[in-house]
């Protein structure tokens, strides 16, 4: 049987600062080596100062993945020489001497399959190495330490996956979950990375490293299974080794160094005292834990009568479900949900578009309201939406500037009049006796159309409807 296990590295991108210093966790906008300080550069005499929010966010992940969580957490040093490590050791966690990592023994359900989580640990991200030119011919190795010390959560699964498809499903569920917890933005470049280990029936375990994206991870796993199967068919031994994913050729290549022989000389990091996480803290975290995706979906269906399909799409996306939650009320939920899934998701289909979008929940509820009250048509609403996303002006201003609200169309005006006549039944009766009352009804129509109705046409239509001349 094929066995696949994953090691996922996820940056806690929602944090302000790095794991052990006050440099920015969001290193992406900096010129190389400008988001650094003596602590993340390991300058002699500096000491790491633990970012407590990182411990809380990581614990949140552990809880959401049904992990056991410790009463005290400890940090360890993993020692090895590498140009991207300023201290030549990494501060990480280890459960070899008792469970002191952020979490252990959790699970995620992928369809009917249960994927067990072996361990979750909090650690610092190393810097970034850039080789100039092709790896084999490179003369210069450039190091950017801006990333060094970024809070990273490593999630290690048991080898519970049976095929690449499951791996992909799992990664989608996991990244949605991390996004929903508001701990990470998995869409950011480099925010989520993964290594895989793959073995087929009777073969040794092979590790695959250096996989750039989740998309490639599925491909790499698929390639590796095929490679191992073809070796097995030819009765060639599958050796235990580490292989690197070659992004250009889309194959795995044997790593020249035997990384399984690496010697890390783990020992406790004494500069960071053991951190107690008492039950109170855990309860607080539990109470403030964002609602899970599945419970959100369930609620959308049962409370608002949204179809399971729409509810599923909406709940699994943090950005759109937040927009929905803020725009919806007792009466408009279904319409809000539909507008998001049918119109807005298409308009905001990339991170860049979302980031620059000026649309907020008030716009959305006003838009729905305007359609319901026939103030604008659905077609006009789409035009307005485009405009709101661009400039964020209040809906009314946009209707005005685009003239979306001008009601000179006989059909639309008749609709408004019909509605007014329904609402003002008494006035309608009176108007038959007293023609002056018609003016009152004209006023109502003007009010309803925000002064956009053609007055003469309104009067003519009203009189026609009332059967008076």
């Amino acid at each position: 049987m094929t066995k696949i296990g994953l090691e996922i590295h996820c940056q806690l991108t929602k944090l302000e600062s790095k794991l052990f210093c006050s440099c920015k966790a969001n290193y992406r906008e900096f010129q190389p080596n400008t988001n650094i300080c003596p602590v993340c550069m390991g300058i002699p005499g500096s000491l790491p100062l633990l970012n407590k929010s990182a411990v809380e966010k990581a614990t949140l992940i552990a809880m959401a993945l049904d992990c056991n969580t410790p009463s005290k957490i400890a940090f360890f040093r993993k020692n090895y020489f590498y140009p991207d490590l300023p201290k030549n050791f990494q501060i990480t966690q280890l459960n070899a001497y008792g469970n002191t990592s952020i979490g252990w023994e959790g699970k995620i359900l992928v369809g009917d399959a249960k994927i067990r989580i072996r361990r979750i640990q909090l650690e610092e991200d190393p810097g970034r190495i850039i080789y100039e030119g092709a790896t084999e011919k490179t003369k210069l190795t450039l190091v950017d330490y801006n990333r060094a010390g970024t809070p990273l959560v490593e999630i290690v699964t048991e080898p519970d996956f049976e095929n690449p498809h499951q791996v992909r499903e799992f990664l989608i569920i996991l990244s949605d979950l991390l996004e929903n917890l508001n701990v990470s933005d998995p869409g950011l470049e480099g925010a989520m990375r993964a290594d895989a280990n793959v073995s087929i029936e009777g073969g040794s375990k092979v590790e695959i490293k250096n996989i750039g994206s989740f998309h490639d991870l599925e491909k790499a796993v698929h390639f590796e299974i095929t490679r191992q199967q073809s070796l097995a068919e030819r009765e060639i031994e599958i050796v235990q080794e580490t292989r690197h994913w070659d992004d250009g050729r889309k194959i795995t290549v044997s790593a020249r160094t035997k990384e399984e022989e690496a010697e890390y000389r783990y020992h406790l990091e004494a500069d960071i005292p053991w951190i107690r996480i008492n039950d109170d803290t855990k309860n607080q975290l539990q109470v403030h834990m964002p609602e899970s995706i599945s419970s959100k979906k369930e609620r959308y269906v049962s409370k608002y009568g949204i179809t399971p399909q729409v509810a599923g799409i909406l709940s699994s996306d943090r950005y759109f479900s937040e927009l929905f939650e803020n725009a919806k009320n007792e009466t408009n939920a279904k319409d809000v949900a539909n507008m998001i899934t049918t119109d807005i998701m298409g308009l905001l289909d990339t991170r860049e578009k979302r980031d620059s979008s000026k649309l907020n929940a008030e716009h959305l509820s006003a838009l729905i309201e305007s359609i319901k009250s026939s103030k604008i048509t659905r077609t006009s609403a789409k035009l307005a939406l485009d405009e709101i996303i661009k400039n964020g002006k209040p809906l009314q201003q946009i209707i005005d500037s685009l003239d979306l609200g001008h009601v000179s169309d006989e059909g639309e005006l008749t609709n408004v009049i019909t509605q007014i006549l329904k609402e003002e039944a008494k006035a309608v009766e009176d108007a038959k006796q007293n023609p002056e009352i018609v003016n009152f009804l004209v006023g109502k129509v003007m009010q309803k159309t925000q002064g956009k109705a053609d007055p003469e046409l309104t009067l003519t239509l009203l009189k026609k409807s009332l059967g008076i001349g």
Binding site: P38, M41, G42, I43, P44, G45, S46, L47, P48, L49, L50, R77, N79, F81, P83, P86, K87, N88, F89, T141, E263, Y264, R265, Y266, H267, L268, A270, D271, I272, P273
Partner: protein, 482 residues
Amino acid sequence: MDLGISALNYVSGIKNNEFTVEEFISKSLERINEVDKNLHAFLRINDSAIKNAKEIDAKIKSNQNVGKCYGMPISIKDNICIEGSKTTCASKVLENFIAPHTSTVVSRLHSEDSIIIGKTNMDEFAMGLSTEFSAYGPSKNPWNTDCVPGGSSGGSGVSVAANECIASLGSDTGGSIRNPASFCSVVGLKPTYGLVSRYGLVSYANSIEQIGPMTKTVEDSAFLLNIISGIDSNDNTTIENKNQDYLSNIDAGISGKKIGIVTEMTNSDGLSADVLDATNDATKTFEKLGANCEQVSLQTVPYTVAAYYTITSTEAGSNLARYDNVRYGYEMDSSGFEFNSYISQARSKFGPEVIRRMILGGFVPSAGHAGKYFLKALKVKSKLITEIKHVFEKFDFLISPTVPIQPFKFDEKINDPVSFMMVDINTVTANLTGIPAISVPYKITNGLPIGIQIMANHLEENSLLQAAYALEKTVDLPEVSI
């Protein structure tokens, strides 16, 4: 003007207009000029010391607020950082390292208007107990310049003993304050782990080391501890200092206190007869002062030196791994090297003792050997902690000779690493268990000093200083003649 005065007498001298800060600093600099060519206590002298002195004098004259130190000259071990100046750890590897930050202890001394007179010599990266491992040549014992001053804070000990400054700050990982204090006949205090911030101290074995004062009197150590101790937001391992003033009750005496004489520290193979005599004498003195002394056994002590070197080598291997000469260090042409060959070449600049411990530190915690060495050492440590906890339920203090031997001659021990390491046998217990310990000058025998070590329970610095003060008051030692 007497350069040999204590810190407290210096303060009253300034207050009584007996001398100005500038006068005292100039004299101290003259003294350094005169004796340090021979003693080599200092690696570098602060060239703005006179300027600082003038500034503090001006503050005093114009009745501005002046810090408690009134410009007293204090030397700092060269593994404690001061922004903008060199911190070499007496290593060639950090020959050109200029610290970008000031240690908390120095910041606190600065804010009390002390003048950092210079940076003192030490064994490279604080590994050693004689300063013979300094990459810049050893310091000499002012009592006998053929002898080592102890270490690793040897330069600090010499600078205080030879009246080149009023006091010094050293660091103590396994006795590095107390050993040179004993060898140079000054007071040396290793505080409770976490009482003094390590921010700005270049780490060697960070789980057990502390910065502490080296002074002419016990009161001076209390005075400096008042300034440097307490919680620090730059060091997560610091603990709240509940005792606000170690000086106020220092003469409380030790009547009725229970003192344990640690058997394993007074019967070890290497213990010299003269040192044992002095220790027995000190025991009698304590009894005369009203304390009850009795023998107490700490059965783990014979294993502590092995455990100590195993743990410290492991941590040193990690703490010193950063010295790859990539981002700071010394001048070296990198052309023709790839990363690994470059750093091996760069790290060949380490001295022999550091290299020994790097090799040891690569071995004892490694996957195949950790069970036999590193994890065993941790077991010894935790056993010792249990033992100490138990002993302090019964005793207020533990005493022993600070060092089992008197200062030895240069090159006498350096080629026998194991017997060299065994010199630490009485001092490492306080580091492995985190408790405070002090060395008090007690006797001069054959022209060389002997110090007595007193240990107390965690955060019992207050009573520890009282006991040390009581003992100090009973002795009248000669001045060093240099």
